[in-house]
């Protein structure tokens, strides 16, 4: 993806430090645009950041690499004034800064683009850019002037966007550009991007990287937060690796490779992916079949349109797509939580009429996208959550079998490696990875014939991701038909036997894994190819 990052990046870096005017000397190098010095941040029970120090030079793209939960987000919240560090401080252009709010950080030119966009859908790009930004102007809002200014900045930084478009008309990639523009318009000198590629197609990712390089070339510093190694290698000048709240070191991207970064990040070598494709698209009767299924979304607009899909026993079918193209609704329709307006759904030979209990009865295991609050009741104990569905089998009478529940829970906690004080721990006290293991423990220990898993590894650390993927593979090997819905294309390519690509509620194509080409899938995801 990079032509020759090191030379171009390096020169921009030097130019930038020269442009800074008279660089004050700290040691021997130029003054960092932004730095943390020994930042420590505690939360009840955890040290989210432990004496973290790192520096971002002017015009540099600096990656913060770490697993989910390594403390990246906390560090950013410190950098942007959302949190104040318990110890240590933030330094801006060589001077200690005490941010009391994000506003202070904005004044220092530090802006953040969050993973979830903060845009108002019915407003235009220009309106969103100036929304809440009252500085340096009177009470009058001149749309034309703002639009002109925005267009200028867009041109300068190569962020192609029409300022008069309404947000809802834009793709996720374009919306992200609006977020970046917003920061630039407000005078960003350092831009922090939190996992910016999650919602993008591969093509959009490349475009984003171009934009970031352009910004860096004109002297803006970029902090790029990610847990994806290839992206970090492709776009950054230097990488700081965080692990368990500690900065493990900063390296020049040119001097490192994926393997050593991964080692630094996880502390051991990692192996992901399904070992040895079972590759069985067998002729057996499908355990899950959808024909011409349609459903409406939360706003009453069509969300799933005429979907036909079959999952056979022992097979993993991956559903790929950019977030928000009907995948969540598809999962809910199969689980009976969202009524289907047309078509038929059959689970293990039993036709469904759109109620959750029917689907459970027929043998559906379901890992919903929203784990806390849907898949798991946060205020109940682990034991209660583990028998959320199986309690019905406690004899025929009205009584619960309390002892059996606890015994069963103890066993499952052991078998699925759920880290908790005991079966009576409340689910809300568990970490994300453990919540997901709890959910999978319940769904896989039942006698499910079909498992629908929606974004099952999102937000999990590397170790948990690994174990969740392994559990999915194992259940497929036991003969369960698995429908894996994920926005992580790599995950689908790693695990799925067949890949269905969704775009605007339709399945635009189903590919065999072996014949799948990532670029082609990318085009399908953006509706260009089928």
């Amino acid at each position: 993806m990079t032509d020759d990052p090191t030379t171009t990046r390096q020169s921009a870096y030097l130019n930038a430090s020269l442009r800074e005017g008279t660089p004050r000397l700290v040691g021997a190098g130029p003054v960092p645009a932004l730095a943390t010095r020994g930042v420590t941040k505690h939360f009840p029970g955890v040290v989210a950041n432990d004496r973290v120090s790192f520096e971002v030079m002017p015009g540099e793209i600096h990656a913060l690499l770490g697993e989910n939960g390594a403390g990246k987000t906390t560090l950013c919240n410190v950098l942007t004034g959302l949190y104040r560090p318990d110890e240590g401080y933030v330094e801006v252009r060589g001077e200690q800064a005490a941010f009391h709010s994000p506003r202070d950080a904005h004044d220092a030119g530090i802006f953040m683009v969050h993973q979830h966009f903060t845009l108002v859908q019915p407003l235009t790009v220009a309106q969103n850019v100036i929304l809440g930004w009252s500085r340096r102007r009177g009470i009058w809002f001149s749309p034309r002037r703002v639009e002109r200014e925005i267009a200028e900045i867009a041109e300068q930084f190569h962020v192609p966007i029409d300022p008069s478009t309404k947000i809802w008309q834009l793709s996720m990639g374009e919306q992200q550009r609006v977020e970046i523009l917003k920061a630039l318009y407000r005078g960003a000198r350092t831009l922090i991007l939190d996992e910016p590629t999650t919602v993008l197609t591969p093509q959009e990712v490349r475009q984003l990287f171009e934009t970031l390089r352009g910004m860096a070339a004109s002297g803006t510093s970029v902090v790029f937060i990610s847990h994806k190694l290839p992206e970090v290698l492709a776009v950054s000048d230097r990488v700081t690796v965080l692990r368990a709240g500690k900065a493990m070191g900063t390296v020049r991207t040119a001097d490192t490779d994926a393997k050593s970064l991964a080692h630094l990040m996880v502390g051991r070598d990692i192996m992901l992916g399904r070992k040895g494709s079972s590759g069985k698209t067998n002729a057996a009767q499908a355990v899950l079949s959808l024909s011409d299924v349609s459903a409406t979304g939360d706003l009453g607009t069509p969300a799933v349109v005429g979907v036909c899909l079959e999952v056979h026993p022992g097979e993993i079918v991956g559903v790929a797509g950019v977030a928000g193209n009907g995948q969540r609704e598809l999962a809910e329709v199969i689980a009976g939580e969202r009524p289907h307006t047309a078509g038929t759904i059959t689970i293990a030979g039993r036709p469904q009429h759109g109620t959750p209990w029917e689907a459970i009865d027929a043998g559906l295991g379901y890992v919903p996208e929203e784990r806390m609050g849907v898949g798991v009741a946060p205020g109940l104990t682990i034991a209660d959550n583990l028998r959320l569905k199986s309690y019905r089998e406690d004899g025929h009478g009205p009584l619960l079998h309390a002892k059996r529940g606890l015994r069963n829970a103890t066993e499952l906690i052991e078998r699925f490696d759920i880290v908790a004080r005991g079966p009576k721990t409340l689910a809300r006290e568990l970490s994300g990875g453990n919540v997901q293991r709890l959910l999978l423990a319940r769904e896989l220990s039942s006698h499910a014939k079909v498992l629908v898993a929606a974004s099952p590894t999102r937000g999990l650390d590397v170790a948990s991701t690994e174990s969740v993927r392994q559990l999915l593979t194992e259940s497929a090997d036991r003969g369960v038909g698995v429908l894996l819905i994920s926005e992580d294309l790599d995950e689908i390519l790693d695990l799925a036997d067949r890949i269905a690509v969704m775009y605007r509620g339709r399945v635009v194509g189903v590919l065999d894994r072996d014949g799948a080409d990532i670029d082609h899938i990318g085009l399908m995801m953006s509706g260009v190819a089928s």
Binding site: P44, N68, P356, P398, V419, S431, A463
Partner: protein
Amino acid sequence: MIRFAAREKVPRWLNYAVPLGSVILAVIVAGIFLAATGHNPLTTYKNIIQASITQPGAFSSTLVSMTPLLFTGLAAAVAFRMRIWNIGSEGQLYMGAVGASGVGLLLHNLPGPVLIVAMMAGGIAAGTLWAAVPGALRAYLNTNEILTTLMLNYVAANIMYYLIFDSNSYWRDLTSPSARVFPQGKNLASTANWPPLQLGSVTIPFGLLLAAGFAVLLWGVIRSTKYGFEMRVVADSPPAARYAGIKTRRKILSLMALSGGIAGLGGASQVGDFSHVLDPRGLEQAGFGYTGIVVAALGRYNPVAVVVTSFFIGMLVNAGYALQGPGFPIGVTGTMEGILLFCVLGSEIFTRYHVTIRAPRRATAIRPVPKPPAAVLPASAHEEVPS
């Protein structure tokens, strides 16, 4: 400055120490209030104890005051615990009284035990049906049950008044000329009187025994039945309940019906145990339903704890009647009730948070940030737990 940090684990003793401490605090604060209004706190407290426990017959009348509060307290506790905000015990109790007195009048020829059971059934049925209306609206149309149950209280009160004051209904006594001028309900036959239990000098109303039995039964239902489990899931997270294949709407409707049934039985007990007549004015002035919410809140919606709290509120109510006079308006006991509720509910923060008070640091240091509540911590902070 004061810092609040969410407790990760609540020590067991705290669950007992905090409520106890809060009651002591309430006694002190109420004492200050009494002193400020010109009453000697110690004498007043002594009088309260005398009027509600130690005087001859006082204990029995406290039990009488407590009986309807235990019913409505249980009705509120069972609903509120499952996050169904049934404010309608008041109206459900009225309708229970209407139902029980109607059945009692209609079946006056039957032998006592059969008649009493029929009255209970009548009270429960009337309360259940009255609560099922807002229950169904909530379950199937998602209306706000706080508003509907509250409004239906006024409807129920008007129905009750209509039966006695504004119509020649079956409930109204029309036998004597004076009863035609001063409307009142028909008296029930003496076979319809619920038999109290006499233990030495203490009289325990039959309804109280019934309610206490219900308290234990409800506790068991919540704790160790499939129904209780399902309700716990619905209460904690309705989407999770739906996800687990629980028919949440039916559960909500049935819980409202259960809550209403208990309140209705409370109404039946008022008729059968005490008044032996449908007495709209007495029922409305007593406000058992609303006080029941206080009773349930003090008992933290635990059915067994409600037995204890209804006793305490019963004491206060009873003492209020006894102490009432020109120098001691009834509002004083109401205020004391309020102080008690405020202290007990307010102190809950001490079980959930670790509260520390310390002097602010020197001015040069950066002010520490109050910790955000656990819910808004970034995912990363939780993920950090070694897994």
